[in-house]
């Protein structure tokens, strides 16, 4: 009888162990079951890796009170992968005066000192953390990515000295200042080889106030930080 009870108890112990193991297994399975991930995996619509991007953009300086400045920008990017790229750009353009400047001059005889950005030569890095798509009406898709850029180079400011009067006004010249910039932009992909891109960038450079004075050679040097905010939009082709 004792032996029988012993065998039964051993059997019961194993059964309990088995049921417990099953329950633990089922419980952990339940937890794992809830974590099935589903993805869409397919060939990438637009790939930038190891491709050269050459683009042309129109640039507008957004934060100038008395002039409009428009530049053309030539951009060359090399994309190391989908996320990181190296960029070179050269901008060149011209400025025109706003009505406000004319009113100040004619009505109040106030001649303003203007920083006319004529050119910029920059090098930087682009970082593209976001790749996405929009669904348009009719089901069509628009693929895009969002990128950040930062880097440095030089900004060429064209001093006309039109605020100076008389024969003592110096002749116009372009002065280059080292510049750093940071920006954000998006590319909207057109087919497999093109994109429309836009950037908003903020450029910072320190200029010498004496450079703008009517007597630059004798005026006292004084460094002032200048910010240029540009909006640019254009088209790029990928090789």
């Amino acid at each position: 009888m004792i032996r029988f009870l012993f065998v039964v108890s051993i059997f019961l112990a194993h059964t309990i162990e088995f049921v417990y193991a099953q329950e633990v297994s089922a419980n952990s399975s339940v937890k794992k079951e809830e974590s099935i991930e589903i993805q869409v995996i397919r060939p990438r619509f637009f790939s930038k890796k190891d491709r050269l991007e050459i683009g042309l953009s129109g640039v507008f300086i957004a934060n100038q009170s008395f002039i409009y400045t428009y530049l053309m920008s030539a951009i060359v990017d090399y994309h190391l992968n989908e996320y990181v790229g190296l960029e070179l750009s050269y901008d060149y353009g011209a400025s025109s005066e706003k009505q406000e400047k004319h009113i100040l001059t004619s009505d109040f005889e106030i001649k303003t000192e203007i920083d006319r950005v004529q050119s910029m030569a920059l090098a930087g890095v682009t970082l593209t953390p976001i790749y996405g798509k929009y669904q348009l009406g009719g089901g069509r898709l628009l693929y895009f990515d969002t990128f950040f850029t930062f880097g440095g180079g030089g900004t060429g400011v064209n001093y006309l000295y039109d605020h100076c009067s008389g024969d003592s006004a110096p002749s116009s010249r372009v002065v280059w200042y080292p510049t750093v910039f940071a920006g954000v932009g998006q590319r909207y992909f057109v087919g497999e080889n093109g994109s429309i891109r836009y950037d908003i960038r903020s450029h910072f450079f320190n200029k010498n106030e004496a450079d703008a004075s009517c007597t630059p050679s004798t005026a006292a040097s004084s460094s002032v930080s200048t910010q240029i905010v540009t909006l640019q939009i254009g088209y790029s082709y990928y090789f």
């Binding site: 099953q22 339940v30 079951e33 099935i36 589903i38 993805q39 869409v40 995996i41 397919r42 990438r44």
Partner: protein, 496 residues
């Protein structure tokens, strides 16, 4: 006596002149294209046996007046060609129906009956020779002689327009004889032919790809099967079927992530109303294979909730159809014409059956018959002519509905039996998921390691080294462009 004979001869002369004049009148009217006049004036001469000289121009006039069903009926009734004019008319008719893709072209024995009225002419024309071989083959198939059918089809030349169709049918017939290798080779050839033809016959191209995939699947060469399933485009009527069948192939290759991914598309809200109960079976066993018992049980419950009422409804309809043979046809007709429909839930079943070409053809014929009734009503024919045409059309209509009812019944019962089988399988899966036991359902299929080592992305595409991919998470929202691209990241949680 002499007076009587004289009188009889005068009458005969007059009668012959009348006949001759009438024939002259018919020929003139036909040449001048006065088809309505022919129908109005010569309907009385059309008898039940078709034994009349006016039948060919009469039938062709009906065709020209846009009565294709009646025209076809009278052409079929007509006797063998007696004159060059009749031969020309028949030739023009066959050319017309061959060119008009909207016309329910007679095929097989129906077509051969037509051609045999002037076989000597059609058999000498290169452009009809391929058609002759093809339809003769169909006749042999109906007669049950597959080998003779194959022999006929092998005489269709590559230059002939029926060549692709002939290759396709050869594939079907060789498969029926159990000659899988030969069948596959014919389907591969037909696929190449249809690819070269571009978009002129996408349906047969995709059917060829589907059949090739199925043959590879039968040989357990799932990798090649998936290659051909992936050739079926998303716009194809066979695409969902390809996703379903390739889900089985993925299952046997131990790629349950890809299998479940395919099923995600079929079971998406985009295709809610489509009829693919088998998807739940594959889903259930794929989940069980990885020990996702709770998910498998959920899938089974969902199947029961969705398909149990459908199965009950189908059984109901089946019972009523046995009492009233045309009942099923009437339901289909109401469904297609969006009339008050009390069987909404089995719309998916009806859509599945209506996808079949043979069913579509029969409904097209009935639609054309309805149009012809309306045209007769609105025509300027004399009343007696209208009555005659209407009577004839009603007889044709009656026969067609009867044939269609039988066809629909066969298809419907097959779907019902399949659904019943799946229901039983799902119950078994539910039982296994409760027990947590894998033995009964674990596949014993032996699949080579080279098939298991291949990795797949969405869309049944093999992953290539250095291929640039994009990943979109699926969190319940369906994007139209993502359908077919899902892959489950599922790991086996069984304790070995």
């Amino acid at each position: 006596m002499k007076k009587t004979l004289f009188f009889i001869s005068i009458l005969s002369l007059i009668y012959t002149k009348i006949i001759f004049s009438k024939e002259e009148g018919l020929n003139t009217a036909f040449q001048q294209g006065k088809y309505a006049e022919i129908i109005s004036n010569f309907s009385a001469q059309i008898g039940e046996d078709g034994n009349t000289d006016v039948l060919y121009p009469y039938a062709f006039s009906l065709l020209k007046l846009k009565f294709p069903i009646l025209a076809n009926f009278y052409f079929e009734k007509s006797k063998n060609i007696k004159s060059k004019e009749e031969s020309d008319i028949l030739y023009r008719y066959v050319e017309h129906i061959h060119a008009d893709k909207s016309h329910p072209f007679p095929y097989g024995s129906d077509f051969m009956r037509l051609i045999k009225k002037d076989m000597s002419r059609f058999s000498t024309e290169e452009k009809f020779r391929g058609m002759l071989h093809f339809h003769t083959a169909l006749e042999w198939v109906n007669a049950g002689d597959i080998k003779k059918a194959i022999h006929e089809l092998q005489q269709v030349l590559p230059t002939n327009s029926e060549y692709g169709n002939a290759l396709f049918l050869l594939g079907v017939l060789e498969n029926r004889l159990g000659e899988v290798k030969r069948s596959k080779s014919y389907f591969l050839k037909s696929y190449d032919v249809f690819v070269q033809m571009g978009d002129s016959d996408p349906v047969l191209k995709e059917q060829s790809a589907l059949n090739i995939a199925r043959l590879y699947y039968e040989e357990k060469n799932f990798k090649e099967a998936i290659v051909f399933y992936s050739k079926i485009s998303e716009n194809s009527e066979f695409w969902l079927q390809a996703l379903l069948e390739s889900a089985w192939a993925f299952y046997f290759m131990d790629k349950t992530g890809n299998s479940l991914g395919n099923l995600r598309t079929i079971l998406s809200s985009f295709y809610e109303k489509r009829f693919y109960p088998e998807a739940y079976v594959i889903q259930g066993i794929s989940l069980i294979k990885n020990c996702y018992f709770k998910s498998a049980a959920k899938s089974g419950k969902f199947f029961q909730k969705k398909y149990k009422p459908i199965l009950n409804e189908m059984k109901n309809i089946d019972k009523k159809s046995k009492e009233t043979p045309s009942y099923l046809y009437e339901i289909f007709d109401a469904y297609m014409n969006r009339k008050l429909f009390t069987h909404e839930e089995i719309g998916g079943v009806f859509d599945r059956i209506l996808q079949e070409k043979i069913v579509q053809r029969e409904f097209l014929i009935l639609k054309l018959i309805k149009n012809e009734f309306s045209q007769i009503r609105n025509s300027s024919f004399p009343e007696n002519v209208k009555e005659k045409l209407k009577d004839q059309l009603m007889k044709i209509n009656g026969n067609r509905i009867s044939n269609l009812s039988a066809l629909l019944m066969k298809k419907f019962q097959r779907q019902m039996n399949d659904l019943n089988d799946f229901s039983i399988q799902i119950q078994l899966i539910n039982a296994q998921s409760v027990l947590g036991s894998l033995d009964v359902l674990r596949s014993e299929m032996h699949v080579g390691i080279e098939q298991k080592n291949v990795q797949y992305i969405g869309g049944m595409k093999e992953m290539k080294i250095d291929q640039k991919l994009e990943y979109w998470p699926f969190e319940g929202e369906y994007w139209r462009d993502e359908l077919g691209g899902y892959v489950y990241k599922i790991s086996n949680i069984c304790r070995l």
